[in-house]
Symmetry: C2
Subunit: 217 residues, 2 copies
């Protein structure tokens, strides 16, 4: 039987996350760790945020995916610096990967760093990256009961974004039940109702992004 | 620094999976391991399968969730035996959990066992449970590019179910591009286009379930 000896992964990750955070603070960069299931709209929200704020802030992006550079290509077309992390098979980003990605970004020319985590509503919640804010996206077609089934990420988020509100007429999603359940787990998170397809709610979201940027300075 | 010594988790899991498989075979039970992101429709597909097949097969269900018994309650209302596994924080089911769940099910009264994995498009792909067939669900609102970003599960699936086809008019999902990409990773998987909301495609799906049952006897 093969015996694997591992260091305490989470405490090592925390040390690296603190190093990332110190570097970001020294460069006056506010970083968001954006998490959700696959297909909830992380890339779409990043693209909408870039379009809304690129005249007011210098934005950089780190794209996390198990494989492919599809998302980094989409972001790159917006004219902002982007680094793609391919995790191989890993289901979440870790702080060490972010540390290496930061070495490839022009940190003196960035105010706002948007980190797109791997699509996964579970594991990313356990790994701090050095971010200032954790953002969780849930999309309408996923159903409001996901709060009960995946409580960790809902309880640690600074902002919860309900995306694909344009699909509300076609999908079963009980907004009041969701809000009640989310508030039960997390009293402090800001909750936004948006549609990246129609632009609904994007203004409220970007206003919060800007206030988070000024508070972290 | 704390040092954790772990056994080779995957090979231990494989041994337990083989034990589960031998038990299932001895009881003439065909088992399906149903995997997807949160909210793609695992529970809905299980409910539709029960409704379509419960006169022709004796069905049992194992529900895997990090927390809650919401899904087990829904299945229980259909009048079939069900066991809920709560993984605590774990993002996938493991064979040992299935082994314990099998002890709680009336195996002599079951022909078809539907196992709903934790909602996660990544980690469940690495853990065999002892199943005869792996079923992967992707729902239309998640987008067809998920094949490129989460290739493992697409490559190992015996059946790929595109769910929420009723949302096709309202969401961007390129069916031909999806089929081409999925075929590139996996030539043998059967691919179904269904809607658990309207019943579209459920007949083709359940026909395949029945043929898989007769082949595994």
């Amino acid at each position: 039987m093969e015996i694997k000896v591992l260091k305490d992964i989470l405490s090592t990750n925390d040390e690296m996350a603190e190093r990332n955070r110190a570097l970001l603070d020294s460069k006056k960069i506010t970083a968001f760790n954006i998490m959700s299931s696959p297909g909830s709209g992380k890339t779409s929200l990043i693209l909408e945020t870039i379009r809304a704020l690129k005249k007011q802030a210098r934005i950089g992006v780190i794209e996390g995916d198990i494989a492919s550079t599809i998302d980094a290509q989409k972001v790159s077309r917006e004219g902002v610096p982007v680094v793609q992390i391919n995790t191989g098979g890993e289901c979440h980003l870790e702080a060490g990967q972010i540390g290496r990605a930061l070495e490839s970004l022009p940190l003196d020319e960035i105010d706002l760093l948007l980190i797109e985590n791997v699509g996964n509503l579970v594991c990313p919640g356990e790994f701090r990256l050095g971010e200032h804010k954790k953002v969780l996206i849930l999309s309408v077609p996923e159903g409001e009961d996901k709060v009960h089934k995946y409580p960790l990420l809902f309880s640690v988020a600074d902002a919860i974004v309900i995306n694909k509100m344009d699909l509300l007429p076609y999908a079963r999603f009980d907004v009041p039940a969701f809000l009640k359940a989310a508030r039960g787990l997390n009293r402090k998170a800001r909750i936004f109702q948006v549609s990246c397809a129609t632009g609904e709610g994007i203004r409220e979201w970007t206003r919060w992004v800007r206030s988070a940027m000024s508070r972290s300075k």
